[in-house]
Amino acid sequence: MSIDTVDRTASRPEAAPLETPGRRRQRISTGILIAGVGVLLLVGLASTDGSARFALSDAFDEVQLPTVTVPGFTTVLVCGLLCLAAAVGYLSGSLRGRWPVLAGAVAGLAVVMGFLTWAASGRELPFPVSNQFAGTLSLATPLVFGALCGVLCERSGIVNVSIEGQFLSAAFAAAIVGSLTSSVPAALIAAVLAGLVMAALLAVFSINYLVNQVVLGVVLNLLAVGVTGFLFDQLVEPASLKYNSAPVLEPLPIPGLASIPFFGRVLFEQNILAYLAAISVFVVWLVLYRTTWGLRIRAVGEHPEAADTVGISVRGIRWSAVLAGGVFGGLGGSFFTLASTGSFTKEFTVGNGFIALAAVIMGRWHPVLASIMCLFFGFVTQMASQLQTLSTPMPSQFLLILPYVATIIAVAGLVGRVRPPAADGIPYEK
């Protein structure tokens, strides 16, 4: 990495600022990526016929918005050409200032629009746009909680690979307590407590016993899988009515706002956890960047020795950050039980904790960026499942892996090398 960052401009101070090899490689890989997608879209023209329809409102909505119809061939062609134009801009290296960002945004929109038009053109059903956005938000909710958990831990210098385990144990606790008490608040509290217990295990072993944190995360995940799986087999399965029928969260329309056409249904008819997630993003940002505690968390994550020298308790701050993360991990876990069927099945968080971890890294350890990455992932996942119902030319198994492929492309082509907090993963010994 040191080679990438060698500044070649140093010898020629009068020349225009040259880019470093690392940036150049990043620019070119982004350009090639966009060009490749553009070419794929143009290849897709061969199988595009008829027109694509996008339904802006659901059949059951009070206010019916029109269904937008676009000509399939032309739209895909325009989107493909836009991608190629953006790619040329990137590859030629002539884009300066804010132009690369703009070109990237145009290319991103063109990719989504072109792909959707290609998939939806000539189908009998229109593509449900409002469902797409509403589903994106509900898929992203647990991911956002998980990402916030990861951001808090890692900003303090503790790598948290066990978000998945926190999700799983919290979901299990929510199912059991929710079933026994038939109360949503009790289930939420139980989930948060389970998240806290897992976080405390992470903290005690990583901070006090100095265990390698990635190792620890993997083991804690396994422990969560084992304990919830064993208790499920032994205790819950034989009496699932008693232990595994928790109440579910109802959508909570915000009066007034929920009746706005399109946006009301998408944004203001979610359940309580989704609102909480949105608020949490703001709160975590505020805490990390505007409070003393947040400053200390970041200091401890970047340079614990320096923080220690000025009298900050490194262990104390790390403990508090990991526990705060555990609260979010628990809330995210409760979503799987309480926002779907109210029951737990073994390993049913299916890797969402790892996706949240990926969002943390892609979002460069920033709460808002990480949450945007969660929305991106939710969007692609929801798009894949929407397209399944349209009987597109793609086999459904390929649609299901689309989110994962999209993440790899995003990580490899767009995000590239990222810089974690300097002391991330390094135990602190006084």
Binding site: Y209, V214, V215, V411
Partner: protein, 392 residues
């Protein structure tokens, strides 16, 4: 560097051994508590514990001893169980070697699962599609599986080297993609068994099935696992590329300054790690099951080998001999767990708990010596070769 020629003596690290044994015992104790707590019948007897403690204690003892006796008997009680242990251990050792090799280069390979799936896909496909003479058929199927896993791992290494994409993210995603690929392939005519609509493949040819010894489950796979361990030892300790792998793992900046190509080493390491995990997949696809025939390709073909392999590599401290021993221990747990499930009706998931607890205790020797004070604290850190800083 000491000036005198290096003489290696095999020193048995007694305190390590004792800590490991203590960790296993502690894990079994916690597992026992979990069993008592979760058993409705036993718990009901604890309700009147103070009136008649013997009931509760006897019920607990019966529950625990029944389960653990079945576990031990199923793991090492005779020739049959021991060979079952080796059969379970073989893929764990292979995939564990793959994860461990990547550790040594400072790479966290969570993707052994996906690499094993690819290995299983290719090996099984060659196994049931081609019809070749004995020997050649098996050899080609194994090589194909190795290449499949290596390809899957190599992609990760290439992306990491060329774009800086974080290997943890990429390997996690590649696991899902491998599973999706398998799900898709099993719906295509090339892979689906004729006359079936569910996702299951034809049975692998007899010529491509790993030969086994009569009367047990000891098959070629275990021998291959041991050979792989020797090969990895040779690679790491005796070859130039192995030196580069260790150098890059210890300090990539220093390795780059010394003229080693970090990018090239990354790609080669992930390629080899993928091949080793692919070998685990080969064993899942071509190794004979209890009936003597290999398990046909289906969605659950490799089970959770790839994830268990991470714990195997951790417990084995990423060293070949350690990985073999750790693989045997967890293989014994799996084999015993199956017996425990059928004999004592204790869910197999208990072995997952035990596995996690063992690694957790071994990883924190300070905790073990606190609980068991007469053990001397060991001086070296656990998991030396694991990448420090993790996600950096």
């Amino acid at each position: 560097m000491s000036p005198e020629p290096r003489k290696r003596r095999l020193v048995i690290p007694w305190s390590d051994v004792l800590i490991t044994i203590a960790s296993i015992v502690l894990a079994f104790i916690v597992g026992a508590l979990l069993m008592i707590f979760s058993d409705t019948e036993v718990r009901s007897k604890f309700a009147y514990f103070f009136a008649r403690p013997s009931d509760a204690l006897i019920a607990s003892w019966e529950k625990i001893s029944g389960a653990y006796a079945a576990l031990i008997k199923g793991a090492i009680g005779g020739y049959g169980p021991i060979t079952e242990t080796t059969a379970q251990a073989a893929p764990l050792i292979c995939a564990g070697l793959g994860v461990g090799l990547a550790f040594r280069a400072g790479l966290f390979n969570i993707g052994a699962q996906g690499q094993a799936v690819l290995g299983a896909i290719v090996a099984a496909y060659i196994g049931f599609t081609w019809h070749l003479p004995p020997g050649i058929h098996l050899l080609l199927a194994i090589l194909g599986g190795l290449l499949g896993g290596a390809f899957w791992g190599g992609i990760v290494g290439w992306l990491k080297a060329k774009t800086g994409a974080h290997e943890v993210i990429v390997t996690i995603m590649m696991n899902y993609i491998a599973l999706g690929l398998l799900a898709y392939l099993l719906t295509t005519p090339a892979f689906q068994r004729p006359g079936r609509t569910d996702p299951i493949s034809p049975i692998v040819d007899w010529n491509a099935t790993m030969p086994r010894l009569e009367g047990g489950q000891l098959h070629l796979g275990f021998l291959l696992a041991l050979l792989a361990a020797v090969a990895v030892w040779w690679l790491l300790d005796r070859s130039t590329i192995g030196f580069a792998i260790r150098a890059v793992g210890a300090n990539p900046h220093a390795a780059a300054t010394a003229g080693m190509s970090v990018a090239r080493t990354t790609i080669i390491t992930m390629f080899l790690a993928g091949a080793l995990a692919g070998l685990a997949g080969v064993q899942a696809a071509l190794g004979p099951s209890a009936s003597g025939l290999p398990v046909p390709l289906s969605l659950g073909i490799v089970g959770s080998i790839g994830f268990d392999a991470i714990t195997v590599a951790l417990l084995g401290q990423s060293k070949p001999l350690g990985t073999v021993l750790a693989g045997l221990l967890f293989g014994a747990l799996h084999a015993g767990g199956l017996a425990m499930q059928s004999v004592a009706q204790t869910p197999l998931t208990l072995t997952t708990v035990l596995q996690a607890l063992i690694v957790l205790f071994v990883a924190a020797p300070a905790l073990v010596t606190k609980i068991v004070p007469f053990l001397k604290p060991r001086k070296t850190r656990a998991f030396g070769p694991v990448p420090e800083g993790g996600l950096a």
